[in-house]
């Protein structure tokens, strides 16, 4: 990998890599481990329902190099704020971390995040000292409210989770990025490196990718591709992108009264 960009400060941690990855859907723990190292990611999210710190055999935790990578437990599978808070406390105890990706989806089909329950749980968990990263709709008002509630970052979706559709919420993401005072991590729906690059070019702080890497024919190669795309997108954002020019309409001069 050539080149580096500015690091991302989130919670109390500096991330050199702006690619966050998920750990679901990989065909084996070994492949997961290899993909993670190819991605260069320092933040991997693990569903608490999958983590099994006690059983040696079925634990994905074994394949994560926790010296290099921060583990971000998530609440995937919970349906309301109460369950989410319970899982968060469980994660804190089991994994000795106060980091949490909060996701609450009462709807098992499209796994749409529940904005009301997410806001409630964010408030509660932030007050309990958690570093909360809520997964949410690309709703600018909701994102500001989550910020006010004490979220450490917001994670708005690009399109339905697992859909590979890319940034269908582009125009709303733009507003969220413009308005936010905390990092914006685009989560869900990113199916191609070009889509990850687009999010970074727009000024997203980071992206989270899972399905696109896990289910590709060669997850290790795909993880590398995403890593490069995220870097390229960030570099382009920092370098300042050229603008699409609007043709100016001819109008009568507005400042001739000055001369």
């Amino acid at each position: 990998m050539s080149g580096k960009t500015d690091s991302l400060t989130l919670g109390n941690f500096e991330f050199e890599s702006r690619l966050f990855v998920g750990t679901g859907k990989f065909e084996s723990g070994e492949l997961l481990g290899q993909s993670l190292s190819a991605s260069g990611s320092q933040m991997v999210t693990v569903a608490m329902k999958r983590a099994n710190p006690k059983a040696k055999e079925d634990s994905i935790l074994d394949f994560i190099d926790s010296k290099f990578t921060k583990i971000l437990p998530n609440t995937s599978g919970v349906r309301d704020a109460k369950e989410a808070i319970f899982v968060a406390q469980m994660a804190r105890e089991a994994l000795q971390t106060n980091w949490l990706k909060l996701e609450i989806h009462p709807d098992p089909k499209y796994l749409m995040p529940d904005p009301i329950a997410t806001l409630e749980a964010t408030k509660e968990l932030a007050s309990e000292g958690f570093i909360v990263l809520p997964y949410c709709h690309a709703d600018p008002v909701l994102c500001k409210k989550l910020e006010d509630a004490g979220a450490a970052a917001v994670m708005p979706l690009g399109s339905p989770i697992g859909s590979n559709q890319g940034l269908e919420t582009r125009e709303f993401l733009r507003i969220i990025i413009e308005q936010s005072s905390i990092p914006v991590v685009v989560d869900a729906g990113i199916g191609a490196p070009s889509q990850a690059a687009e999010a970074m070019e727009m000024g997203a702080s980071a992206v989270l990718v899972n399905t696109a890497i896990a289910v590709s024919r060669d997850p290790v190669a795909m993880a590398t591709a995403f890593s490069k795309a995220v870097l390229a997108g960030r570099m382009a954002y920092l370098a300042g992108m050229g603008k699409v020019r609007n043709k100016a309409s001819a109008t009568s001069p507005l400042t001739s009264f000055l001369s």
């Binding site: 308005q179 936010s180 603008k243 020019r245 001069p253 507005l254 000055l258």
Partner: protein
Amino acid sequence: MDSFSDQFEKRNWAEVSAKINSTTSKNIERALEGAGEGGMDDLAALLSPLANKEYLEDMAQLANQLTMQRFGKAIRLFAPIYLSNECNNVCDYCGFSMGNDIARKTLSPAEILREIGILRKLQFDHVLLVTGESSQKVGVDYLYDSISVLNEYFSNVSMEVQPLKSDEYSYLISAGLHAVLVYQETYEKKSYSKHHIKGKKRNFDWRLNTPDRLGRTGINKIGLGCLYGLTDDWRTDSFFAGMHLDYLEKKYWQTSFSMSFPRIRPFEGELQPAVDLKDRDLVQLLCAFRIFNHELELSLSTRESPALRENLLPLGITTMSAGSKTNPGGYAGNVESLEQFSISDERTPPEIAAMLRSRGYEPVWKDWDSSYQCQGEVHSAKKLSVEQSTENAMLIS
């Protein structure tokens, strides 16, 4: 609680000034192409001497487009209502300064009603309550009572008085206060302390953090600005006003903001402005801020001349005062109390409205309803009872 002063201290005046002055064509073209997307960097470029010299017409065209898109052809009209010229501050640019030997006046409730009657007849529905700074004679209770009365007759009551505490603002908001204007006057500390000679206003940081204290109350609108002429480096001064705006907008995201660009006008005192802000400079300021912030309310007072006010209209102005009197009781014909500054556009509100229409703008008198914030029946019931009250009817007839 963190406040703007923390951010402010991190920026160095000389560095900002150098950045503005070293702006290149590329910086300006980039700001124009992206319509201000580049934030503070774009603002610095648009405020530069080079932008003034070479790009003013381009800036004006863009500012006009952006204003049309966001606000259309509508100009909101309001009237200031001066309630008191009592002041415990000594400031060398202001007619109300404590040292000035002028007749002091604080309006009684009956006198306020007289002013209200005249302003209502002139069609005004938005008013800006103004006073000097005298916490004994014009304290929070006086303001509360005045706002309560004004609120019965006007749809929108804003205020420009001394900086208050958060809980005091909340108290006034409960009486129907919609917006507060609190100009820093200048962000340059040396000039600030030079012009604010005595009194509470000398406290730069207290004033600087006032919008934070307001923001925490969840107020509808906050007005910011510099008084141009207090410091020679007006470009840097306005940059800091822009930085203040940017900070507040992110933090208090449910509040809207306005910005004004008053220039020092002749008054009974001796101050010569530190800089003569030319019309061309004022145009640059207006356009730069419109491009920097597309939603910002830009307000223009009667300090400016009729011709200039008309020419500035398409460049981003959204709000204007009209037929203003800047002395307490001025609308009812009090000539004894001295005005804060002399106005330049002396046209009556109907004349201003006619001018706006002839230029293709709609004069907007009502663009808010205070019952939104006072919630329902209490307020509308109050409005009725007030109209029925014979005592009040006599006073406002």
